[in-house]
C-alpha cells in the first residue's frame, strides 16, 4: 500500500483479497449499498479519486486494481489468453465482493474496467443491479468497427495484442514515455493537465513495472482473441444485459473508441440509456462533476428493474 494512494482515498480501508487465480488489491470506503469501481488502461484504481468524495456519501465504494494492474497480482499468461479474459477478471470481482459480504452490487466502470463491467452483467446477471460504462462499446463491436481510418486513434489495440515479448520490449525501454503519451493523447486537451500529480505518480510507478506491462498486454491479447469470441457467443445466443444500464462517453474525441454508442449498445441492452459528456476519454478525471451529474441519479434511482 502506498502513501500516495492513501492521499487520494482518505479514510478508505485497504484489503488484499485472494481470488481463485489472482490477488486483488482493493480500497474500500463510504457507506450505503455497494458500488464496484473498475478502472482501465493504463491506469489503476486511483482514477476514481475525484468522484469518490461524492460517491462515498451514498455508497460503500469498492475500488480494486484489475488483475495484473497496479498492486493486484495476476496469474501467469496462458496460450489462449484466458487468464486475462474479461470473463476471468469478472470472476475475480464476484469473489472479491462476496468476501466483502456483497452478493449484489452496482458497477461503474471505465475503459478495460468497462469491459469487465459489462461482462459481469452478462455472466452474473443475478449479482449486478446497475451498470455504468464510461467511453466504451463492446470489444466485439470495437473490432467490427475498426478500419484503417479509425485505427490511427486505436493503434494500441493491435499493437498491445502483438505476441509477447514484442510490445513488452518496445514499451519496456521507456514505459513512462509510452504511458504519458497515451494519457495525454486521449484527453480533450492533449496534455496531462487533467491528471492530479499524485495520481500520475501512481500510474507511473505502476506502469514502470515489467509485470504490469506484460499483464496489460495480456489484457489486450485477450481483447483480440477470447474476449470478442465470448461476446460473439452471447450475441449468437441472444443474451442481453438485464440490469439498468447507463452508457456515458467523451464527446471530444475525434477518433474515439465509441461510434454511435447507444445504437451500438442497444442490441446488448435494449433499455440502455446514455449521453455524451464534455470530456476526452478519462471522464472520471477530466469531467468528474459532469460524470457524477449523470451517473449519481442513475445509480441512486429506484432499484426495481425497468
Amino acid at each position: 500500500m502506498s502513501s500516495t494512494s492513501d492521499d487520494l482515498f482518505p479514510g478508505f480501508a485497504t484489503h488484499r483479497i485472494a481470488t481463485t487465480a489472482a490477488e486483488i488489491h482493493v480500497r474500500v470506503g463510504g457507506s450505503g449499498p455497494p458500488l464496484l469501481l473498475l478502472h482501465g488502461y493504463p491506469q489503476t484504481h486511483a482514477c476514481w479519486h475525484k468522484v469518490t468524495p461524492t460517491l462515498t456519501r451514498h455508497f460503500m465504494c469498492v475500488a480494486p486494481d484489475l488483475r495484473g494492474y497496479g498492486e493486484s497480482k495476476g496469474p501467469s499468461a496462458d496460450h489462449g489468453h484466458l487468464a486475462y479474459s474479461k470473463r476471468a477478471m469478472a470472476r475475480d470481482f464476484v469473489e472479491v465482493m462476496q468476501k466483502l459480504g456483497h452478493e449484489r452490487f452496482a458497477v461503474m466502470s471505465h475503459d478495460r474496467g468497462g469491459r469487465v463491467g459489462y461482462r459481469l452483467a452478462l455472466d452474473h446477471p443475478e449479482r449486478i443491479d446497475r451498470l455504468v460504462t464510461l467511453d466504451i462499446v463492446t470489444t466485439l463491436d470495437a473490432w467490427t468497427d475498426m478500419n484503417m481510418d479509425n485505427a490511427v486513434g486505436r493503434f494500441h489495440w493491435p499493437f498491445l495484442a502483438r505476441p509477447a515479448p514484442f510490445p513488452e520490449t518496445m514499451i519496456g525501454h521507456d514505459p513512462v514515455f509510452f504511458l504519458e503519451y497515451l494519457l495525454a493523447q486521449w484527453t480533450s486537451t492533449k496534455d496531462l493537465s487533467a491528471f492530479d500529480p499524485r495520481a500520475l505518480d501512481h500510474y507511473r510507478r505502476s506502469f514502470a513495472r515489467p509485470e504490469v506491462i506484460h499483464a496489460s498486454c495480456e489484457d489486450y491479447r485477450a481483447g483480440a482473441t477470447c474476449d470478442p469470441e465470448i461476446d460473439a457467443a452471447d450475441r449468437a445466443a441472444g443474451r442481453v444485459i438485464a440490469c439498468p444500464m447507463l452508457a456515458l462517453w467523451g464527446a471530444s474525441r475525434k477518433h474515439g473508441f465509441v461510434n454511435k454508442p447507444l445504437e451500438t449498445w442497444r442490441p446488448w441492452c435494449p433499455h440502455v440509456v446514455g449521453m455524451p459528456i464534455e470530456s476526452g476519454h478519462f471522464l472520471p478525471e477530466e469531467a468528474p462533476d459532469a460524470t457524477l451529474a449523470e451517473a449519481l441519479p442513475f445509480l441512486l434511482a429506484d432499484r426495481n428493474p425497468v
Binding site: 478500419n147 484503417m148 481510418d149 485505427a151 493491435p158 509510452f178 503519451y181
Partner: protein, 307 residues
C-alpha cells in the same frame, strides 16, 4: 553506416542529386530500363535475389527511396508532403530522366509499389509497364468499412501516430522492431528468408534516427496526403494507363482481402493478377515465382502508345 556487403556485384553505384534530395542508386544489366522500388522497412537491397535474372533482360535502376537506406532524408513538414508518394514519384522520375530514360517499366514492392502506381497515375507518359507487389492502393486500404483483420492493421496505425511516439519506440529497439516486421510478414514467420547480409543493410538504415523519422513520415503521408491524392484521382476517374500486373503472396498482406483484382480493376485500364506462394516479402521469399510471374509480363514486346 558500417560497410555492408555488396549484393549487386558489378553494378554501378551513384548518389544522384535531384533538387532537395539525393538518391543512392545501383545501376546494372543490359536492355530497356526497369526501375525497381523497395518498401518498408527495407532498402534497394530487397531486389538482390531477382536482380541477376532481371539484369539479363533489362538495365536495372535500383534506388533507395528518400528517407531510406543511403538516400538523403529531406526535412519533414506539417502536411507530410515531403514524404508523399507524389513527391517520391517525382524523385524517381527525375532520377530516370537524369539517366536519360524518359519511358520505362517499373516494379515496386510495398511502399515502393505505392510510389510506382502514383508515378503511373501522375506521369502516364513515363511508365511503360507497372508491376505492383502485395498491395492495394492506399485509397482502398483506408476505406471506412473495409474489414481489415486485427493482424494487418497494426503497423499502418502505429507508424502514423504523431511524432515522436513511433520514433521513440522504434529508436530504442530498432533491431526488435525490424526483425518483428519479418517475423510477422514472411510466410515462415521468421527472419530466415532474409539474407543476413541484406538484414545488415536494413539494420543500418533503421538504426539512424533521421531515417526512422523519415519512414514514419512516409506512413503519416499515407494517412493524409497520399489518401487525398488517391481520392482525387478516384473522384476524377483517372486511371493507370500502363498495363499493370498485381502480384500478391498467398500469406501476404492481401491474404484475407478476397479478390485483390476486384479492388485494382477500377484503377487500371488493363490489369492482371498472379498469386505466388509467399508472405509479404515476395522478392526475398520466393524470387523464382516472382520472376516467373513478372518476367513474361515485363518482356512482353507489345508497345503501348503513350497518351
Amino acid at each position: 553506416m558500417t560497410a555492408a556487403a555488396d549484393l549487386y556485384s558489378g553494378f554501378e553505384s551513384r548518389l544522384a542529386t535531384l533538387g532537395d534530395v539525393a538518391l543512392f542508386t545501383r545501376i546494372g544489366g543490359k536492355g530497356p530500363p526497369l526501375l525497381l522500388l523497395h518498401g518498408y522497412p527495407q532498402t534497394h537491397v530487397l531486389w538482390h535475389r531477382v536482380a541477376p535474372a532481371l539484369a539479363a533482360h533489362f538495365t536495372l535502376i535500383i534506388p533507395d527511396l528518400r528517407g531510406y537506406g543511403a538516400s538523403s532524408c529531406p526535412p519533414s513538414d506539417g502536411e507530410h508532403r515531403a514524404y508523399a508518394k507524389r513527391t517520391m514519384a517525382l524523385d524517381v522520375l527525375r532520377l530516370m530522366a537524369s539517366l536519360g530514360h524518359t519511358r520505362f517499366s517499373v516494379m515496386g514492392h510495398d511502399r515502393g509499389a505505392r510510389v510506382a502506381y502514383r508515378l503511373a497515375l501522375d506521369h502516364p507518359a513515363a511508365v511503360e509497364r507497372l508491376v505492383a507487389i502485395d498491395i492495394l492502393t492506399t485509397f482502398d486500404q483506408w476505406q471506412p468499412g473495409q474489414q481489415l483483420t486485427r493482424r494487418r492493421i497494426f503497423h499502418w496505425a502505429f507508424l502514423a501516430q504523431p511524432a515522436p511516439i513511433p520514433e521513440t519506440l522504434i529508436g530504442t529497439n530498432p533491431v526488435d522492431w525490424l526483425e518483428g516486421r519479418f517475423r510477422r510478414g514472411t510466410m515462415a514467420r521468421s527472419t530466415d528468408p532474409i539474407d543476413p547480409r541484406a538484414m545488415a543493410h536494413y539494420r543500418a538504415s533503421l538504426s539512424d534516427p533521421d531515417r526512422v523519422h523519415a519512414t514514419c513520415e512516409d506512413y503519416r503521408a499515407s494517412a493524409s496526403c497520399d489518401l487525398a491524392d488517391d481520392t482525387d484521382d478516384r473522384v476524377a476517374g483517372r486511371q493507370i494507363v500502363a498495363p499493370t500486373l498485381v502480384i500478391w503472396g498467398s500469406q501476404g498482406s492481401l491474404a484475407e482481402v478476397g479478390d485483390p483484382l476486384a479492388f485494382w480493376k477500377p484503377w487500371c485500364r488493363s490489369v492482371e493478377g498472379i498469386l505466388v506462394e509467399a508472405g509479404h516479402y515476395i522478392p526475398e521469399e520466393n524470387p523464382t515465382a516472382l520472376l516467373a510471374a513478372a518476367l513474361p509480363f515485363l518482356i512482353c514486346d507489345t508497345k503501348v502508345i503513350p497518351p
